[in-house]
């Protein structure tokens, strides 16, 4: 079976190349200029050993293949040039410089870590290279564009800013937990990192407005391996739930929360819990965990979501992480911008990207303008991108918010005590 598939693929390729040769011959005879052979290169900086980092490069490759299958950009193929930054800002900057000076890329998609994206941003300004991060969240990325537009306009923020992630979680808690489960209080527990500072600021502001009193705010070192003292402290304060802001950690706090039978539900942003590998990594301790995410299995945020998820799953054997969805969309956004600009001139690409209205896999992508607070960040809101909130239930990610996308109801394991 595999053999025959292989043979037929080879045959198809031969037929295609034969057809291409014929097309070139035909175009020559009628005097139409042949498509330039030179591909348009897009640099992609990911990290193979991290689930979220590997998803960036995989999704980018898929997007390029899809674009090329549909004729490329004005007849030119898209070629992604892949780099690995090992979660290091210094490695990422070196990869960015190499992409620009040696590999002559026209744009760069890079990283899911705010510290790394913030390190690349000034280089994108200096080298005038359009750059978009599909997964970092810090609000400082778009704030820099807002504060010095002329210099930093080459940077785009292709994922929800921390402030909007926090807002979506507040909206979720208000819509689902306050009304149905009578939740009145919480403790915010987040890792100490660039992306959680604006996240926590917004949590402290929007949770009380959503009807949830914040009893305490705990920030901990991302190197923490024993979470017992933290859970112990939280339990002593008797909140109804724990609101999380975690990405560098995830498996360990979840397993310890489960093993120690901490009686409060955990809801918030738990990035590792957005990947399909999380269930196995935690041996099912994830049961009941609630996290915000870009998209979820089986939920059609747009007509493109499910087709992409299934094709990705088929090709790589795992489901995409949140930044896999956004990377796939943003390679298309860049390709469309180059097409619209009719050139790879960085200023023209930036102008065209600012006019983006693209129905992707996570929603409809538009960027905030020069006068908005979060310049060049993707717009948050109904009809645009809101993300979803999902809950792990018996090994599956069930979407529980927003209402029109939900495919299940929130339930908690017996060990979790919700207020009556």
């Amino acid at each position: 079976m595999a053999y025959s598939k292989h043979v037929s693929a080879r045959l198809t390729r031969r037929l295609l190349s034969g057809g291409a040769a014929l097309a070139v011959l035909l175009s020559l005879t009628v005097g139409v200029p042949a498509p330039a052979a030179e591909p348009i290169k897009i640099g992609v900086i990911g990290e193979e050993s991290a689930v979220a980092g590997a998803s960036i490069t995989k999704a980018a490759q898929m997007a390029a293949d899809d674009i090329n299958a549909h004729g490329g950009i004005n007849g030119r193929n898209v070629e992604v040039v892949i780099y690995d930054d090992h979660s290091s800002a210094a490695d990422a900057v070196r990869a960015f410089q190499r992409a620009v000076s040696e590999d002559k890329v026209s744009a760069v998609v890079a990283s899911y870590i705010s510290e790394v994206a913030l390190a690349i941003e000034p280089w994108s300004a200096r080298l005038k290279m359009p750059f978009i991060t599909p997964g970092a969240a810090s609000t400082d990325i778009s704030k820099a564009v807002h504060d010095d537009y002329a210099k930093n306009k080459y940077t785009f923020h292709g994922w929800l800013t921390s402030a909007f992630i926090a807002q979506s979680i507040c909206d979720f808690e208000h819509d689902m937990l306050v009304s149905t489960f009578h939740v009145k209080s919480t403790v915010v527990m987040s890792e100490d990192a660039a992306w959680t500072k604006p996240l926590d600021d917004r949590f402290l502001e929007c949770l009380p407005k959503a009807g949830v009193k914040v009893l305490d705010h705990i920030r901990f070192n991302p190197d923490t391996t024993d979470f017992t003292p933290i859970f112990n402290k939280i339990e002593g304060e008797h909140p109804d739930i724990i609101t999380t802001g975690i990405s560098h950690v995830g498996v360990q706090p979840t397993v310890q929360w489960h093993d120690q039978r901490v009686p409060m539900a955990m809801a918030g942003q738990s990035s590792q819990a957005t990947t399909s590998a999380f269930w196995k990594d935690t041996n099912g301790a994830a049961e009941g965990v609630i996290t915000a995410s870009a998209a979820a299995p089986g939920v059609a945020l747009t007509p493109n979501t499910i087709a992409f998820t299934e094709a990705y799953q088929k090709r790589f054997g795992v489901s995409p992480a949140y930044d896999g969805y956004t990377t796939y969309d943003e390679i298309h956004v860049i390709a469309d911008a180059i097409k619209a600009a009719g050139s790879t001139d960085p200023d023209k690409i930036v102008d065209a990207m600012e006019k983006t209205h693209y129905v992707g896999t996570v929603g409809t992508i538009e960027f905030y303008g020069k006068s908005d607070l979060y310049t060049h960040a993707i717009k948050y809101g109904p009809g645009l991108v809101t993300g979803v909130v999902l809950q792990w239930q018996s090994g599956k990610q069930v979407t529980v918010w927003p209402h029109d996308k939900a495919n299940g109801k929130i339930t908690f394991p017996a060990t979790i005590k919700m207020p009556k």
């Binding site: 193979e48 050993s49 991290a50 100490d192 391996t225 003292p229 112990n232 360990q252 120690q260 099912g284």
Partner: protein, 291 residues
């Protein structure tokens, strides 16, 4: 209440620290090797154990066994591929061999860590607890697994004590640590004794790796920290002193737990490191060290 919590939590984590460090110190005592790939070996055991338990359907006990075996294999590979060639090399001056072993194992540890990250990704993993559920110890809700880990650690440490002090093989190892040349003159084969130490070390490090995976969880990013923590415990206790390491493991374990509960979880490792610096100044041979 908090005091009791600290007492219970500190006991279990210290027992695990002791188990992880004791093989490390035994090897230094007997064969003079400081194995900086230590964290990497624990990592291999934890990841293979997790993988076998989850993917092959052998379950948590099968996974634990496979993990310990993987630790042993990793220890052998370290010995035969990295340490022994350096020890036997004629190109390296005798007095420089220790530093070469140190560098070699350090690099090997980094190779293991990177390799494991590529194969398993850098997501931390956790083994399912050997026994589930929680019990109430005077009001402290304690996972049964935590209690069992502490008991297991002490059982293994007890067996190790018997092995070293009550068996012929153990006494040979003790003798090798005191006077290797004398032992050779009496007709004992040193390389066999070294292999025995590496075997014991592999089982101990492997066991500590899988137990850590089922207690707190282990990720590839932890490898350096695991080596560092074993190293500081061993320096604090006195290089090569097994009982010193046990005491030091409890000092470090309780100091960390106290800091995490009473000051801040973020500062957890700091006081133990300060103590280490102090010990190096005031009593460089460590608590019970003789070298």
């Amino acid at each position: 209440m908090t005091a009791l919590q600290i007492l219970v939590d500190g006991f279990a984590i210290s027992a695990l620290y002791a188990l992880a460090a004791v093989g490390f110190t035994l090897m230094f005592g007997v064969s003079g090797v400081l194995n900086l790939a230590h964290g990497g070996i624990m990592l291999v055991a934890a990841l293979i154990g997790w993988w076998v338990a989850g993917e092959t359907g052998l379950g948590v006990y099968g996974g634990t066994m496979a993990g310990i075996l993987a630790g042993l294999v990793a220890a052998y590979v370290t010995y035969f591929l990295v340490v022994r060639p350096i020890q036997r090399s004629r190109a390296i001056a005798h007095e420089e061999k220790e530093i070469f072993v140190l560098t070699g194992t350090l690099l090997w540890g980094i190779m293991i860590q990177t390799g494991m990250a590529v194969i398993f990704s850098d997501n931390p993993v956790t083994m399912r607890p050997l026994i589930g559920g929680v019990v109430n110890i005077f009001g402290v809700r304690t996972p049964r697994n935590e209690i069992m880990i502490a008991v297991l650690c002490w059982l293994v440490l007890g067996l190790l004590w018997l092995l070293i002090n009550r068996t012929r093989a153990g006494k040979q190892m003790l003798a090798a640590s005191i006077n290797p040349r004398g032992l050779t003159l009496l007709g004992f084969d040193l390389s066999r004794i070294y292999l025995r130490v590496w075997t014991i070390y592999g089982v101990l490090a492997g066991g500590a790796g899988v137990l850590l995976a089922s207690f707190l969880g282990v990720g590839t990013a932890n490898a350096g920290q695991l080596t560092a923590s074993a190293f500081s415990i061993v320096v604090l206790g006195g290089l090569g002193s097994v009982s010193g390491s046990l005491i030091a493991a409890y000092v470090v374990g309780y100091l960390e737990t106290l800091t995490a509960y009473l000051i801040s979880p973020t500062l957890r490792p700091i006081p133990a490191l300060l103590l280490l610096v102090l010990v190096v100044y005031v009593r460089p041979q460590g608590l019970l060290g003789r070298r």
